[in-house]
């Protein structure tokens, strides 16, 4: 049996049942969106797509996601600006950037603004899936912390 088949076997038997990450995939290449979403959905993820940062921002006004996987360089609003806007709108969101060429300067800039991770294209889907899973866990921690702070605040007000 081929090694790829063993890896594939694990994906379809195990991950299909346990993974349910909700992902927003943003890229201006329609073919990339189609095929990536098909492969990610085959791994149990729920995927929504946007072909521009503007469209992604509109979707984010109505829906929440565990992670956003976004191309760094798109026509119109670029990755850095989109990242800033998304983080302003929803700071708890985890954003994984995909880039054609990751310069150290741009990577540092993206991380400073709040990108969760950065992957170079062509990316390995298994590596991306692992990062999405990690992003979901981090988002849950942020949301839990937020809820905890809210509860503490309410208790403080009532006890005072």
């Amino acid at each position: 049996m081929m090694p790829e088949q063993k890896t594939g076997n694990k994906i379809f038997v195990n991950k299909e049942k346990i993974m349910s990450e909700k992902v927003l995939l943003v890229d201006d290449e329609k073919d990339f969106l189609d095929i990536m979403s098909e492969r990610m959905e085959a791994r149990g993820m729920t995927v929504k797509t946007a072909d521009s940062a503007d469209q992604a921002l509109k979707i984010l006004e109505k829906e929440s996601f565990d992670a956003i996987v976004m191309d760094f360089k798109m026509p119109g609003m670029d990755g850095i600006q989109a990242l800033k806007n998304i983080k302003t709108q929803k700071p708890e969101l985890q954003i994984i950037l995909l880039t054609g060429y990751a310069t150290v300067e741009k990577t540092v800039e993206a991380m400073k603004i709040g990108a969760t991770d950065l992957l170079e294209k062509p990316a390995d889907l298994e590596a991306l899936a692992a990062k999405i899973k990690q992003a979901k866990a981090e988002k849950m921690l942020v949301v839990e912390k937020k809820t905890e702070d809210k509860i503490k605040d309410i208790l403080k007000r009532f006890s005072g």
Binding site: E4, G8, N9, F12, I35
Partner: protein
Amino acid sequence: MTHDMKNCLAIINENAGLLADLAVKAQDKAIPFDPLKAASISEKIGKLVSRADDMMKRFNRFAHSMDHDKETVDLEEAVNLIARLAERILLQGRIRLTVIPASAPCRIHASRFAVLHLIFRAVDSLCRNQTDGTLDSEKPVTVQFSSDPELPEICFIQDFRPEIKLESLFASPEDQALLARVNMNIRTMDSGAGFCLNTLPPARE
């Protein structure tokens, strides 16, 4: 360009991955391998290879622009090459470039690399020097060539307002050196409608 090339490779990579996924499904879940799906993937890969090949050809033409110190350069051909090489930059700047074919050959004797560099600087300036800063609508720019074979000229005419900051065009010492290298200068049009790169008449002895 490299980003587009990476995009092509990324989609080819995902198509290969999809084929592997389907093979695993066929073997492990006894789901028959759909020949139509396989044909569709194969067709997509073929198109992507052709797209990447076109890019490589353009890269190659650009790389060979450094082969000769000076040669006869067709300005229309040079503009078309840069328009294709800078496709993503133009798309990001929301500039739609329309190249009007020259009525007569528009050629100069110069360094092909320097000419391509100069045209790229013109395109880049169009994308960067927008005073309104809006990226909402597409901005049409027409490229025309002079009909005077003695004084070849490339004109970039913008069909939108407000005008770009023409005073800052080719103002840097690097741009000035580039203009001097190809024996051209810049002429701005009235009311900020655009600019032309025109050849200087040969110096009289």
